[in-house]
């Protein structure tokens, strides 16, 4: 027990001393961890927002709203609904009245309700929202419903094939670019941290030499450096976590007011995941960097 305590005590106290003794090198390492984690955290949040938008567009995409002419009686609309439901390609059809359409419209984020009130009458049509099993059938259904006299003419549906394809492509490109960026940043940061810590260790090679000479085991030599790497990782991560944690909500709110029709939302649960990942990644960067940095000196 006392051996374990001695080991822990030695690792922590010498890591703490060395962290401050080579303050310049330590701060350089902390800055690198900080920048990498800040980039990583922001990137994860941006990718997540893109993901959310794509997911929303995809659910929207598997459904089209068929706008009904204001002259269509409710009974005819219900017959048309039954007719569409009997189509094997269709999974569900729901009726949205003019009032419901207005209520939905009011819920759009960052849209000022008073602007809508100045319109006086409700310009929105009632609609049948048709959900299909396979997105590829949407075109055919769109063509079919346009023939019905019950359907409004301006426009008949909200089917926009090009937009959907573009969004999916954009999301895929952004995802791959993000992944490449994350892998690149990780590799680069491990390398830089390894070099920084190796510089710090080089300044203390005499200490390592003496430790080995008097019979310290490899792990006993290694632990203080790994703990020091963990310090670097924690400090860098905490600063980055604070910035991302407190910056995410204002950023989303600001973007929502600029990009009115982009369905951005604040995801508290995902934010926690990202912050935890940043902290974990910071610890990993620091300890792996130290482990690699000290390896050369132990091998001699």
């Amino acid at each position: 027990m006392h051996r374990l305590w001695n080991r822990v005590d030695f690792a922590f106290s010498s890591a703490w001393q060395n962290f401050w003794r080579n303050a310049a090198v330590s701060i350089a390492s902390v800055l690198i961890v900080w920048v990498v984690l800040l980039a990583l955290g922001s990137l994860l949040l941006v990718l997540h927002s893109l993901d959310q938008i794509v997911a929303l567009e995809k659910t929207k995409a598997s459904a089209i709203s068929v706008y009904l002419a204001d002259t269509t009686p409710l009974s005819s609309a219900m017959d048309f609904k039954l007719h569409l439901e009997s189509d094997p390609r269709v999974t569900a059809v729901s009726y949205v009245s003019k009032d419901q359409a207005m209520a939905r419209f009011r819920q759009l984020p960052a849209l000022d309700p008073s602007v809508i009130d100045t319109l006086g009458t409700n310009p929105l049509p009632a609609s049948l929202d048709v959900t299909v099993k396979d997105i590829r059938d949407l075109g055919a259904i769109d063509q079919a419903v346009r023939l019905s006299p019950l359907v409004d003419r301006s426009p008949a549906t909200n089917y926009e094939p090009n937009v959907i394809d573009k969004i999916i492509l954009l999301a895929r490109v952004a995802g791959i670019a993000g992944l490449v960026l994350i892998i690149g940043l990780t590799g680069l940061s491990v390398f830089i941290i390894m070099l920084t810590i190796r510089t710090a260790i080089y300044l203390r090679r005499k200490e390592i030499e003496v430790m080995k000479l008097v019979g310290a085991t490899d792990w006993f030599v290694r632990w203080p450096f790994i703990v020091e790497g963990l310090f670097v990782g924690v400090v860098g991560a905490v600063v980055a976590v604070l910035i991302v944690g407190f910056g995410y909500h204002p950023a989303v709110v600001n973007l929502q007011s600029v990009l009115i029709f982009v369905p951005l939302s604040f995801d508290q649960y995902y934010l926690r995941l990202v912050l935890a990942a940043m902290l974990g990644f910071g610890l990993l960067l620091g300890s792996v960097g130290s482990y690699l940095g000290v390896r050369r000196f132990l091998k001699q």
Partner: protein, 241 residues
Amino acid sequence: MATVMSAVPQISLQGVHKKYPNGTVALRDVTLMIPKQDFVFLVGPSGAGKSTLVRLLIREEKVTEGKIHVEGQDLSRLKRRHLPFLRRKIGMVFQDFKLLPNLTVFQNVAFALRVTEGALRHLKPKVEEVLSIVGLEGKENKFPDQLSGGEQQRVAIARALVHDPRIFLADEPTGNLDPATSWEIIQLLLQINARGTTVLMATHNREIVDVMRRRVVAIESGQIVRDEDAGGYHAPALESR
């Protein structure tokens, strides 16, 4: 002494060759037996291979050919993870002391105990004990650069003694010291030897070797050219009788 060789030697080298990667041959066919409690001077010109021999004994270097046994262990078969435990049985001092400048005298000695995971509660009494053996009581809180060369070497000796080593290796321990201080260090090594520890000292110091009349092993160009009990720095033929 060397004549009392009936017991298993504590250190044995058999047909040891050492060639460095750059092609330099440091030792050729060296065979040497050192029994327990022996006191051996290792002499020879610079570059003769004395330091290489010392480094092989703590396996800082590996032999190219031949066998070395220390404390019954075959060093070429010793696993890397067992190496620290061999080193705890061997005390070492060097010409340049190898003290940590940012630690006090007490901390330098305690460092050796701490890194080998000795119990913390035994630490203080043990450090005080070895510091009193080397005569450094009252200097516990000084830093190495506040001490004379002789005092620094005493700290290094105290650090080497803190594990109660069975073998004490000294590589030119008086190389940086004036004659009077050198004699003080030699007296300490004799004292350590008298307590039952085997001492092997590589040295250039002719005066000390000649006065002491202990076992002398002379190395030249990587080969043992002389091994005599109660010897002098130079071969008898060269000395005026």
